[in-house]
Symmetry: C2
Subunit: 200 residues, 2 copies
DNA sequence: GGAGATGTAAAGTGATCGCTGTACTTCGAC
DNA sequence: GTCGAAGTACAGCGATCACTTTACATCTCC
């Protein structure tokens, strides 16, 4: 919108620009690899302004995690909220190959990555990730129940595990195949759990 | 062995001490979080000596990855090589709760973590991880075949995905439950694949 | 017992990074 | 039109980090 006009500087709305840039860079390059300098340059924001909005980089990371969750930023996981789709379609929609960024690199789940990068040095961030994963598993269980699964608890937790594995292994292997494998496996489990039950 | 005696310094065999310490610290605290200073102190080795053995930290990371693989250091994955066990037992043995370190923190797969931490800045290390994951999947496929699975390719890849997911989700959730869930799911898939019931 | 490989101690270098201080500008609201 | 909030530019600080340098000790092997 204001991209074309804002030549010399970003102008008003710095906080929003910072957060958007954080989502972009932290997710793509990692938190450690993204320095404050690179962030401010990309966001067209002065260093001073950044620190007027966020007391420290750690706090920015916290805000970044919350932003990831609140918006539809977690594109893959947003599939669960597509009300127009059937529960089954919503679940299988998770495994779309969104994990691929522009450069073709697969970066896995940004939240999981923060936990790995933090390695205990950012307890608050780690807790945020923990809570998100719990909520996500809960949503999967609910959706599994909607799909008519016989044991939605078990199926939901298994689906969460499969989805996490698909993204993690895609990253380590640098290959999207695990996402397809995950989808197939999820489909098989859904079929089994809903056998003889009208899937709607 | 020489721990009690070696008071003032480590003495001979510095390279070995460095690598052992790297395995310990890199896996527990992460590569970025482990500085050269901390490493040399723990390994009882002078900085100079470290750089006589390894040209750079990156090269040490490479050696660390190779060491992880060559020794039985990857305790979980070593289960596949227990010749005394049945193929089925070997596969289920993967999900032992070894991911828990002394402090109770779950750190997931050290190789995967390097890929996440590197975030593209260490291409050679990333390739090493990639190759390892490929080999591991291959071993799983072989073991699935040994177990008499109808479609060992499919089952092996699914098991690899489940194992990766169990470790990753355990890390993000800071809970060993996904390991148990993974074991149960692996068991169910093994049963299906070896009892004439189609997995699809 | 001497030579050469192996290892040690400790100060120092240059680069990077997160963060701050100071002084100035711009924009919107009243 | 003025005032205050919001933003900018940019130099710089202190800490950390990977890595080097210099000078010295010790073990192994012939």
């Amino acid at each position: 919108m204001s991209d074309a006009a804002g030549e010399r500087s970003g102008g008003r709305g710095a906080r929003e620009r910072i957060l958007r840039t954080a989502v972009q860079l932290f997710a793509r390059d990692g938190v450690q690899a993204t320095g404050i300098a690179k962030l401010t340059e990309t966001a067209q924001v002065s260093t001073r302004t950044l620190y007027q909005h966020f007391a420290s980089k750690d706090e920015l990371v916290r805000a970044y995690l919350e932003r990831l969750e609140s918006d539809g930023v977690l594109a893959a996981e947003a599939s669960l909220e597509q009300a127009a789709l059937s529960p089954r379609e919503r679940i299988l929609g998770l495994f779309v190959e969104v994990a691929l960024d522009a450069a073709g690199t697969i970066r896995g789940c940004p939240l999981h990555n923060v936990t790995v990068e933090a390695a205990g040095t950012m307890p608050e961030a780690t807790v945020l990730v923990e809570r998100h994963k719990q909520r996500f598993a809960k949503r999967l269980i609910e959706t599994a129940a909607e799909a008519g699964a016989q044991e939605p608890e078990v199926l939901g937790r298994r689906l969460a595990l499969i989805f996490e594995g698909a993204r993690a292994l895609s990253t380590s292997l640098n290959d999207t195949r695990p996402l397809r494998d995950g989808r197939d496996l999820a489909e098989a489990l859904l079929d089994q759990a809903t056998q003889g039950i009208s899937v709607r």
